[in-house]
Amino acid sequence: MSVLQVQDLTVDFAQRRGPKFRAVDHVSFELVAGETLALVGESGSGKSTIARALARLLRPTGGELLLHGRPVGHRGRKLRDYRREVQMVFQDPFASLNPAYTVGHHLRRPLRIYGHPRKGLEEVVEALLTSVNMVPATSFVSKFPHELSGGQRQRVAIARALATQPGVILADEPVSMLDVSIRLEILNLLDGLKRDRDLALLYITHDLATARYFSTQIMVMYRGEIVERGPADSVILRPAHPYTQLLEASVPGERTPHRLDELAPVRGAGGTNVILAAERAEATAATGCRFRRRCPHAMDVCSTHPVEQDLGDGHLVRCWLHDPKVREKSGDRAAPQQSAPSGA
């Protein structure tokens, strides 16, 4: 059941010189209760901007948000109702808690804001801590953030997000600043909470592996656009967009069927200099596929904006290579087939 629908979300940022920078370009998706949607992309792809837009921390330039099928309000009571339903977990566990206040304060505030009476407050706070496995809860309530480890702080952040009993949680790279050995614990925690409370979870990350294992659906973003989306295993095991393939080939230690030199970025006479300039131009260019300067399979048609192609099973890709008409014309020349997984 769809909880939050995002339609044609667009976010522009004013630049000091030149045209506006379009960070998010007409992105649409929906968050379903009990399911995790992973949003994968590199820095600059716009994924964090989407999180902030959904958290109403910035005002989108265009598009619409529908919560439980109804358009969301902009101020006052309606905004507060929205905030109650949609909560966020931030990336940096060291920055998302106020160093001047205890854990208890962080959990009490959201409860009080939404009208929980003082009576019974402590019990609810302790219940929240227990639900994120910080036990015994009483020993943590009066602790300050600097007395906790990164993993514990993130648990507090998650508990805070749960305080208002939301239907949606936006997790913006919740584990990328944590040690490797505790990442899985936190992700397992989020997963469990999602199942127990039937939450709709948006998991933003640059880590493909955890995106695959923890989510139902994956969306791959590049420069403000969703270039590929679909069921997690399908996108990861059979990546269709050259950018997704490049991402997979770049992960250390992975044995993917794609050779890195095939996917290596084009080096012009100026080295990567050319890439940088091209990327900057891409960001503000309105036409064509954003990835074409780096794509080893770029064709003439790529200078027009690609349309989303349906590969079946809910797997969609925004790439001319998968357009049947284009494939016909070029005779399947260099089309990267959706690759089968390597080995077992």
Partner: protein, 319 residues
């Protein structure tokens, strides 16, 4: 699902500025131990406060005229006498109170102004913020002393209050700028954003979430303004502005200079008040530096760990 460790985190990091009150009190004792500078500064400050409060109990009328004119320091007059035979020591002691009063009250008012204009502007944003910022910059650019002199010349000062007000309303600009910049940078910190996402109202975000994390800067700004106030008041008094009959160190300097103390070599008249001003200023500055040291562990003076000479040599060896 695994459970996390029950004990709180091992290896907790250094405490950051702006901890809660109880923790801060605990930390205060440790802080004094860690920063000799702050300790010295506080001692100096304490000395002058005690002097201001209890000193007058031990002295007689400091303005009483006497027979011994420009007398050198002696057993009877520890710091000698003025042109009118007044006891310099008594005067210095009696002047402590008013000086501190001007300093701290003006400093206080000034800091409040800085907060309202600096932090308030940062949070309101938009045109109002731009306007306030412009106003702040203008005030900052205007040379303070001439401005204060001009205003003082027009104001009949019967008490210290006009002086306090004038100083307060001319000295807030520097701190306001700093606080504004700080507030702007903190506004986009994750915990502030988190407070917004939680649904906190803006005023609560400023007062409850933001200000406690700025205490270090606010205190520092306050101390700086106090120094400024004391020095400005001394300067004003030295120039003969304000009520010259009110006893303050600056006034003493004025009278000393007016009565040819310099030329007649009566150092005991102008040296003590001058030294007091300098000493108080130094004490306040040391507290400020000490505050920095305490809050930023990297600035602390190094004391090598343990007694091993090898360690010391190695520590010395790494530049």
């Amino acid at each position: 699902m695994t459970t996390t460790a029950i004990a709180p985190a091992a290896g907790a990091t250094e405490p950051r500025p702006g901890r809660g009150l109880s923790a801060r009190l605990h930390g205060a004792a440790g802080a004094l131990r860690r920063s000799p500078r702050m300790l010295v500064g506080l001692i100096i400050l304490l000395f002058f406060v005690l002097l201001a409060v209890f000193g007058p109990l031990f002295i007689h009328n400091p303005n009483a005229l006497g027979t011994e004119v420009l007398g050198r320091p002696s057993a009877k007059y520890w710091l000698g006498t003025t042109q009118e035979g007044q006891n310099v020591l008594y005067q210095v002691i009696a002047a402590t109170g008013p000086t501190l009063e001007v300093g701290f009250v003006a400093g206080g008012i000034s800091t409040v102004l800085s907060l309202l204009i600096g932090v308030g502007g940062a949070f309101i944003g938009g045109i109002s913020d731009e306007a306030l910022n412009l106003f702040t910059n203008v005030i900052l650019v205007i040379p303070v002393m001439p401005l204060v002199i001009v205003i003082s010349a027009y104001v009949q000062a019967k008490s210290l209050l006009p002086t306090i007000i004038i100083i307060a309303f001319t000295g807030w600009a520097g701190t306001a700028r700093v606080l504004r910049a700080l507030a702007l940078s903190m506004r986009s910190r994750d915990y502030i954003l988190a407070a917004r996402v939680s649904g906190e109202r803006p005023w609560r975000i400023v007062v409850v979430e933001l200000l406690p994390n700025m205490t270090a800067f606010i205190v520092s700004g306050f101390i700086f303004t106090v120094i400024f106030a004391i020095l400005t008041q001394a300067g004003l008094a030295f120039l003969g502005l304000g009520n010259t009959n009110l006893l303050s160190w600056g006034n003493m300097l004025y009278w000393a200079q007016a009565d040819q103390a310099l030329t007649s070599g009566a150092w005991w008249w102008f040296a003590p008040p001058g030294l007091c001003i300098a000493l108080l200023g130094t004490g306040l500055s040391l507290v400020n530096f000490g505050l920095d040291e305490v809050l930023n562990p990297r600035l602390r003076s190094v004391r090598p760990v343990g007694g091993r000479t090898k360690a010391r040599r190695q520590a010395a060896g790494s530049p």
